[in-house]
């Protein structure tokens, strides 16, 4: 029987916070658990097989958190899973009522806005990278080798795909905020 499961790019496949939280919850319900969330967890996540458990996960993006941030969550019974980039991950085991960290409309909107801001930043970087590579291809293609040209084309396609993906996520979260 498999005791370990490796998932690549988990956070890239589920960029919307609630999708990522629900996916981790489903994994735990099927007995797949993560011990810690680390900086590289958005790229690779290792799950260990155990007993199925009902966990509520919380994805909380914060560029800056004051020193009482972690202790506030811990007082409420949340277990700190770790951080990947600016995302703090929390979980809480439950039986009946599903626990919530954000209990009013304002704080849900505020969390979504923080996520949109971070996604917009990455979106701009990817778009700029695609633009810079396109300029290099258009204006300097005579001076670069066929191999380098191919790499630039692949780079442009890669960054455009990422920008489209992040743009879609921004729209999705924005739509969710309006609702």
């Amino acid at each position: 029987m498999k005791t370990k499961k490796i998932v690549f790019f988990p956070a890239f496949k589920r960029v919307v916070p609630s999708d990522f939280e629900n996916w981790l919850e489903d994994m735990a319900l099927n007995g797949w658990h993560i011990e810690r969330v680390r900086q590289w967890s958005s790229i690779i996540m290792i799950f260990i097989k155990g007993d199925p458990k009902k966990y509520r996960f919380v994805y909380d993006m914060r560029a800056i958190a004051s020193k009482d941030y972690v202790s506030t969550y811990e007082q409420f019974g949340w277990e700190y899973m770790g951080r990947m980039a600016s995302v703090y991950m929390w979980r809480m085991e439950y039986t009946d009522e599903r626990p919530e960290a954000f209990t009013d409309k304002d704080s849900i909107i505020s969390r979504n806005k923080r996520t949109i801001a971070a996604v917009s930043f990455s979106f701009s970087i990817f778009l700029l990278a695609a633009l810079a590579m396109s300029i290099a291809l258009i204006f300097f293609s005579d001076n670069i080798s066929v191999n380098d040209r191919m790499q630039l084309i692949i780079g442009v396609i890669f960054f455009i795909i990422l920008a489209i993906l992040l743009g879609t996520v921004m729209l999705y979260i924005h739509k969710g905020n309006k609702q």
Partner: protein, 109 residues
């Protein structure tokens, strides 16, 4: 933040803000606020950690509450004079709302 700006920013107040500010007329830490609000609303409102953290950060930044002390990385907060003023303005608004609603209900259909 001056009173006029605070009134514009916080009124009408959300239930969450109202009860947090009301709880902080006495000193409390984040978890203590949740317990107090749960008690005075007969378990109707149970504030989450993220909501409390966001609200406290915002209220502190705008000068409606302040940190009284820190124990084991836990901050103990209390309302400032500005916070109390804003809460009273909101309370007056709610009383006015209540009086008007009452008049409406007393009128024959």
């Amino acid at each position: 933040m001056d009173e006029e700006k605070a009134v514009k920013k916080y009124l009408p107040m959300t239930e969450t803000m109202f009860f947090i500010l009301l709880s902080l007329q006495q000193e409390h830490h984040g978890y203590g606020i949740m317990q107090h609000v749960k008690q005075i609303t007969n378990n109707r409102i149970i504030l989450g950690a993220g909501t409390i953290y966001n609200s406290l950060s915002r209220l502190e930044k705008d000068g409606l509450i302040k940190v009284l002390s820190e124990e084991d990385r836990r901050k103990i907060y209390i309302s400032t004079a500005l916070g109390r003023k804003i809460l009273k303005v909101e309370a007056k608004r709610l009383v006015e709302l209540y009086e008007n609603a009452k008049t409406l209900l007393e009128e024959p259909i």
